[in-house]
Amino acid sequence: MANDPIKQFQIKELAGPVNIGGLEISFTNSALFMAVAVGIVTIFLLVAAGRGALVPGRVQGVGEVWYEFIHNMVKNVLGPEGKPFFPLVFSLFSFVLAANMLGMFPYFFTVTSQVVVTASLAIFVVGLVIVVGIAKHGLGWFKLFVPHGVPVVILPFISLIEIISFLSRPVSLGLRLFGNMLAGHIVLKVFAGFVVSLAGYGAVGVVGAIAPLFMAIALTALEFLVSFLQAFVFAILTCVYLNDALHTHH
């Protein structure tokens, strides 16, 4: 296929293959864009918070809205106990948002369309939930899987379902972000491919190519919305899952 919609997700080595004990740790385009995403967020927030003016300018205003948005979210979902987790949620949100938005530029690599990246983030979050839950409540945390007020007869089944639903969280959290970004970018590429192949059929084809072109523009706008929404959903689901670790009353 001339316009292969999958090719954009290919990982390329930028600096020759580096192997340590059979483990490949080459610097790839994925690693480059992860570094760029972190760099952009860090530099932007340093600039935004640098002056610390009483009346914020434009850049500082964006930084403050960004901070307050996540701060309110953590405060509403987790309450005052959630304060130590604010930096984590803020970093996760910022990283995912920056990676998603960087991916929207043509020829740029979308880090979050790699399942290994999103799965690592998701497993880290759910692992943290287990660690924090046990550290805070001891073994009593496992009461999360035994809901109150359920008849003893069906309790084993309910517990089993609760355990399965807990274990499916890292899978769904990681796959949701991965699937959304992957599907969105494939759809964009497919519609862009329609434009190119239709335009190859002479004058009639060029007129016909206007329809998929407008579709591609509309989809680009939708993808920007999805980029933000998925970063937000990832952050708020992190908060909701952490809530299970902090407050066990079920």
Binding site: I6, M73, N76, S172, L173, L175, R176, F178, G179, N180, L182, A183, L229, F232, V233, I236, L237, V240
Partner: protein, 74 residues
């Protein structure tokens, strides 16, 4: 039947599941809007919950997309 053809048919069937996710997301936002029109003052506080529900419903549809992609590319 050739394996390749069976894989493509399977991928197509797996994508039907995404229609279910579409119904689910539509239900959530439709009901949110219905509730918001009845009591607009309570709506902003519940928008986050609507988004969480939509994300959870959408995630299940994404599973079927992943199955389709696995069938196509492995």
């Amino acid at each position: 039947m050739e394996t390749e053809a069976a894989k493509m048919i399977g991928a197509g069937i797996a994508c039907i599941g995404m229609g279910g996710a579409g119904i689910g997301v539509g239900h959530i936002f439709g009901n949110y809007l219905a509730g918001a029109l009845r009591n607009p003052s309570a709506a902003p506080a519940q928008f986050t919950n609507a988004l969480i529900g939509a994300a959870l419903a959408e995630g299940l549809g994404i599973f079927s997309l992943v199955i389709a992609l696995l069938l196509l590319f492995t």
